[in-house]
């Protein structure tokens, strides 16, 4: 997030990046994953307005695994609203072309700093702690 200002040293707040769908739209899959993981590894929380495609989620898990290291980075916590019908959509939807991203708000953070307290179709409640 080059445009964002950096907190002063000693500021122990938690930074949250709210990334619009428009900003993600122009990025390649690996650029999106890099953007997310670079922020999360810095201890930031990332909120994606429109989420990732299943293929990108798969690669996010894979790349996250390659970056885990003891006493440094233990992985990510990721939450999206469950789809009302996670069955790949209706027949009509399928023949018209599936929207794989389904524009789902997604919250991603460092596994050791974010804990999901509650999740249902309409609400995600998370507890975020400082590093």
């Amino acid at each position: 997030m080059p445009e964002a200002t950096t907190p002063e040293d000693g500021d122990d707040g938690v930074r949250i990046d709210l990334i619009s769908g428009a900003r993600m739209e122009g990025l390649a899959s690996m650029e999106k994953i890099r953007l997310i993981l670079d922020s999360v590894r810095d201890g930031d929380i990332v909120v994606l307005e429109e989420g990732l495609s299943p293929e990108e989620e798969s690669r996010l898990i894979e790349v996250t695994m390659t970056e885990i290291s003891p006493d440094d980075f233990t992985g990510i916590e990721i939450e999206t609203y469950p789809k009302p019908d996670s069955g790949g959509g209706s027949f009509l939807g399928r023949i018209m072309g599936k929207d794989e991203t389904a524009k789902k708000l997604t919250v991603i953070g460092p596994a050791n700093q974010i804990q999901t307290l509650h999740k249902d179709e309409n609400l995600i409640t998370a507890l975020v702690s400082r590093k």
Partner: protein
């Protein structure tokens, strides 16, 4: 030489329909994937696939058992079973310390576990032709990993069966799993006790035959 190679490829292409399908056994850690893989392999080949354990991430490499012939209702289905490491988005070596493991061993196990998860994701994208998704029916199925993995499987249009495992335990709640993924068939079973395996094999033959 090139001609011979082309001929061989053409001939093998003619018979590709009869080649065993690679069926990946997926799910979160400790759902009983290896117990199920061993149950299927022992029932039909006499051999096991790999060691089972209550400690998470016992399976840290994808393991394939080839040419497992399953007979049901006069029909024979031949599949390769691919037992995969449990998928997660986080691995902390400290959780292994709770299982009386030394730090060095715990760190080594966590490193192998992360490699295994990455490997499992690669297999899912590239190398499996059907999925058995195993869930522990005593735990909440509404997790992000389950939601994401089912979404990934659906996006690839792979045939998938959901197995609600551990029905031998009192807290088992198969309906909760069926309600979580109503778009897929849920089959209850206890891989450990061998409960409901007739239906398991009938569904494997139906879905992957």
């Amino acid at each position: 030489m090139g001609l011979l190679t082309n001929l061989r490829e053409s001939i093998s292409g003619l018979f590709s329909e009869s080649e065993p399908k690679r069926i990946g056994i997926y799910g979160p850690p400790n759902a009983g994937k290896t117990t199920l893989a061993n149950r299927i392999a022992r029932d039909w080949t006499g051999d096991a696939v790999g060691p089972e354990s209550h400690i998470p991430h016992e399976t840290r490499r994808a393991r394939r058992k080839e040419n497992v012939e399953i007979e049901r209702n006069g029909k024979t289905v031949t599949i390769d079973i691919v037992d995969t490491p449990g998928v997660t988005t986080k691995v902390d070596y400290k959780e292994f310390l709770d299982h009386d493991m030394e730090k060095n061993d715990a760190v080594k196990r966590s490193r192998e576990a992360t490699e295994g998860v990455a490997e499992a994701m690669h297999w899912l994208r590239e190398d499996v032709e059907g999925v058995i998704y195993v869930l522990d029916s005593t735990t909440d199925p509404f997790t992000q990993v389950n939601t994401m993995l089912i979404g990934i499987i659906e996006s690839q249009d792979l045939p998938v069966l959901i197995f609600a495992n551990k029905t031998d335990l009192e807290e088992s709640d198969v309906k909760r799993i069926a309600d979580a993924f109503p778009q897929h068939e849920t089959v209850p079973l206890s891989a450990l006790e061998g409960e409901n395996m007739d239906e398991v094999y009938a569904k494997i033959a139906e879905y992957f035959g």
